[in-house]
Amino acid sequence: MLTCDAYHMPGSLTEALKLWSETSDGSRLVSGATDILPWAREGRAGDVHVPELVDVTRIAELDGYAFENGRVRLGARTVYQDFLTDRILMQNLPCMPHCAIWFADDQIRTQASLTGNLVNASPVADGTPAVVALNGEIELARLDSGKIVRRSVPVIDFIEGPGQTRIARDEIATAIILDNASGYGGSFQKVGQRRSLVISIACAAGLVKTDHNGRVFDDVRLAIGGVGPRPIRLTEAEQALKGARISHERIAHVAQTAADTVGSRSRQEYRREVVVNFVRAAIEDALANQPNVTISFEDTEEEAHA
């Protein structure tokens, strides 16, 4: 059971930052509360009393999204359900709808913020690999002599380990800034014990862009979660595919090498095995998802000609 002495719902960022910097130690920020409420239960933190809770969901500045310099700036209030209902976000962040559909359920997605997911920094948070594949940064704001000061940290560095991030005591996350991946195909892979309401055992996100003929990989982005304390971007695999002719065999080969490198970082045999299939599926699903391009696989073509 989570108890507090006061629950604040500031309406502006300045008000929120001021309130937050004045709260006593042990106070917490709250967005959707879908991590923080279940955390204060038996088997986890047990009954917890915090002095104050500062709710960020009525801060007007954290609302909505904007396009800036080829990037998408998502206000910190963006929730998972937005990736399933907002056509523009779905189109420009093509791995996010697939990540969202496997996340919790419709009701929790209506509350659960992407920001809360990242700040909570669980090694199996679904949002992390998807955001890392989109070269995501998290924007943090604090008050300095009454003025709002902001900084951005790449999410891959922001998450330092389970529950550990680079956020400072007086900061509030205000936005998540992602690459605009319009024209890419996106995908998301998740292993869990059931379909809804399940935390991943491991997860992976993929983004792929090919030439117009669907023959060559122009760009590939791959990230995985759940295999180590921090998210992993598979840069070697990405490099091996960029500029290469698309073929099932090449994808399978890259998946195998990726699994070998990642595998050495993970002690769990099962997760090691999962990675091979994840990487292959992430690439193939993303290829199938790319708009307006029909993919021509080298090996399928050869078979057709043979």
């Binding site: 509360a33 409420l37 699903d285 708009p291």
Partner: protein, 628 residues
């Protein structure tokens, strides 16, 4: 503590209440507004019994701080149809029989309503996805989905409203679709389960539970808890006036730990206070000194000579041994052409009924101790409690509240005694609502079993002998173990006529969570082994698995394992129905490779996918077909 003034529009009416700053929306609805159709099945976002609309969006009210709903428009199950009639969704649930215990049903109706509001044209895959956050443990989902599709058709005008009405019943109710009498109270959220009931001046109770599996209790100091403001009483085993001890067969379990604890989660003391929070705080003030004892966690260890003893009355740690003998197994095995021998194991299983344990006790003006709870065995509980509290039977009354799922898990009197003691000590009504975690840790589980199996067969598939040896982990207390062992023994070798058999089922004490009654009462564990053996025998003998079962099945006149002569038998018809329904291709199962027509048919569960609503959303030329 500073309060928070909560303003909202609830079911079309403006309300203002003073609430705690940390109240959840669920607490506000249930405690402040008495809207108890919204339930707390888990308190952690996992079950969906608490689903409500906030500004038109369905949310889980257990995960929402009430303050977030400040100034919003809230709609609960009670508000869907207003007073009187039911909505088409509710009527469809009534029609298709989509409600059993009913505990999940208000949440299900809310989720179904949300699905059809969000997308009135949602196809079945999307409906399933949108109901994914709501769990049902008894109805199963088929009738629920049937109801949602029926409501969808009626709302869209594709089906007449008359489909929601009761079917005409002809000459017989057998085989007719008859609506359940109790469904309207469930689909409307009006039915009051124990946790939904309130009595004037009622106290809330919380239970201190053991963190250790096996330990001597050296001392319990409740003084600090008792001195707390708003704490009304603290009880321990010392407060038990009569002969302490309950259990379905052997009365080996005290109301609260007496001298020692035998499993993690065992009740040690209970506090009744003016509110839950105070009661919970008081628990942390109770000091218990333990001396850890060596524990038993494996049933095989419990049988070893010199093993720690868990109950003094059972120095061998045996709860019950049920032997069954028929014919002569040595002779039977000697006649066999083939002898198969194997080991089987099953695991501990939680019932996970959606209604966590809950109850109220009070002492009525005639000094009758009354306990209201979803007990599956009130008459037995009443007799046991009378002994325990040293009262004549006419001074003890049990009222069975609607059971939000039991499946055997609510047969044990694990909390009613504590409620009664608190009510007797305070002369005020006392309520206890388990949290989900508490229900998991303290309630009985399905027996984990180990079975050593030996089966002798002739080359034409006839069983000549079986030796069946089952060892079950009974956990810390006897509960229903004896009955479960009996049932397992009686049904051990399945519905097959076996001339020579030797069956032994044993349950032993360990320091694991007690095992108790659970649907099939021991038969599931036994049948898992027996039916696996039948399939393995079919493979070994190169026979069709239906064929080998027909050769051995009990027919009219057969003698059961316990030597009863059967006057009726229906296995032939069961096998035939199963064979037809599964489109079974005759033959040995393991030699036919992948080209079987009976696999992956329309009636087979397809692999789980998601994404019905994002399919083809990006452009029509490249529809998205597959997620993971």
């Amino acid at each position: 503590m500073p309060k928070l003034t909560m303003d909202a529009e609830v079911n079309g009416r403006k309300v203002r209440r003073e609430i705690q700053p940390y109240s959840r929306l669920l607490d506000f609805l249930r405690d402040n507004l008495n809207l108890t159709g919204t339930k707390e099945g888990c308190g952690a976002g996992e079950c969906g019994t608490c689903s409500v609309f906030v500004n038109g969006k369905l949310v889980k009210s257990c995960l929402m701080p009430a303050a977030k709903a400040q100034g919003t428009r809230i709609e609960t199950i009670e508000g869907l149809a207003g007073l009187g009639d039911l909505t088409p969704v509710q009527r469809a649930f009534h029609k298709t029989g989509a409600s059993q215990c009913g505990y999940c049903i208000p949440g299900m109706v809310m989720a179904a309503t949300a699905a059809l509001r969000e997308n009135p044209g949602a196809d079945i895959e999307e409906i399933k996805e949108r109901l994914g956050g709501n769990i049902c443990r008894c109805t199963g989902y088929t009738k629920i989905f049937e109801a949602v599709e029926m409501a969808k058709a009626v709302i869209a005008g594709d089906a007449p409203e008359t489909v929601l009405e009761e079917d005409k019943v002809g000459d017989s109710y057998i085989g007719a679709n008859v609506r359940r009498l109790d469904a309207p109270s469930k689909v409307s959220g009006r039915l009051k389960y124990a946790a939904d009931m309130k009595m004037h001046d009622m106290l809330q109770m919380q239970v201190l539970r053991s963190p250790l599996a096996h330990a001597k209790i050296l001392s319990i100091d409740t003084s600090e808890a008792e001195a707390m403001e708003d704490v009304v009483c603290v009880i321990t085993e010392e407060d038990v006036p009569g002969n302490d001890g309950f259990g379905v067969f052997v009365h080996d379990q005290p109301i609260m730990a007496r001298g020692k604890v035998r499993h993690v989660g065992e009740a040690i003391a209970a506090v009744a206070a003016e509110n839950v929070l105070t009661a919970r705080k008081a628990l942390s003030k109770i000091k218990v000194e333990y001396e850890a004892l060596p524990g038993l966690y494996d049933p095989a260890d419990a049988m070893k000579p010199g093993a720690p003893v868990i109950h003094d009355y059972a120095p061998d740690n045996l709860v019950k041994h049920i032997p069954v003998r028929k014919g002569n197994v040595e002779k039977g095995f000697a006649e066999a052409d083939l002898i198969l021998e194997d080991d089987f194991r099953t695991q501990q299983v939680e019932h996970a009924y959606l209604e966590p344990e809950a109850g109220i006790a009070y002492v009525d003006p005639d000094d009758v101790v009354v306990v209201i709870s979803p007990s599956q065995n009130i008459t037995h509980h009443r007799h046991m409690l009378a002994e325990i509290i040293a009262k004549p039977i006419n001074k003890v009354r049990f009222i069975m509240s609607p059971v939000g799922g039991g499946f055997g898990g609510k047969e044990d009197m694990i909390y009613q005694g504590m409620l009664a003691l608190c009510a007797m000590k305070t002369h005020r009504p006392v309520q206890l609502n388990f949290t989900r975690e508490e229900s998991l840790i303290a309630s009985a589980k399905r027996h984990p079993a180990r079975i050593h199996y030996k089966m002798g067969l002739t080359l034409n598939g006839r069983i000549t002998a079986i030796s069946f040896d089952m060892l079950s982990d009974g956990g810390a207390y006897g509960m229903s173990s004896e009955g479960v062992m009996r049932k397992a023994a009686i049904l051990s070798c399945g519905p097959y006529e076996v001339k020579n058999l030797k069956v032994d089922t044993r349950a032993v004490y360990t320091n694991n969570t007690p095992s108790g009654a659970f649907r099939t009462f021991g038969a599931m564990q036994a049948q898992f082994a027996t039916e696996s053996m039948m399939d393995m025998a079919a493979e070994a003998l190169g026979m069709d698995p239906f064929e080998i079962r027909r050769i051995n099945m009990m027919k009219i006149g057969a003698k059961t394992h316990t030597q009863q002569t059967l006057e009726t038998a229906s296995l032939d018809r069961v096998l035939e129905a199963a064979e037809t329904a599964s489109r079974w291709e005759k033959g040995v199962p393991n030699v036919r490779g992948a080209e079987r027509d009976d696999l992956n048919g329309p009636d087979t569960r397809q692999p789980c996918t998601l994404g019905a609503r994002i399919k083809g959303s990006r452009n029509e030329t490249h529809p998205y077909e597959k997620v993971a």
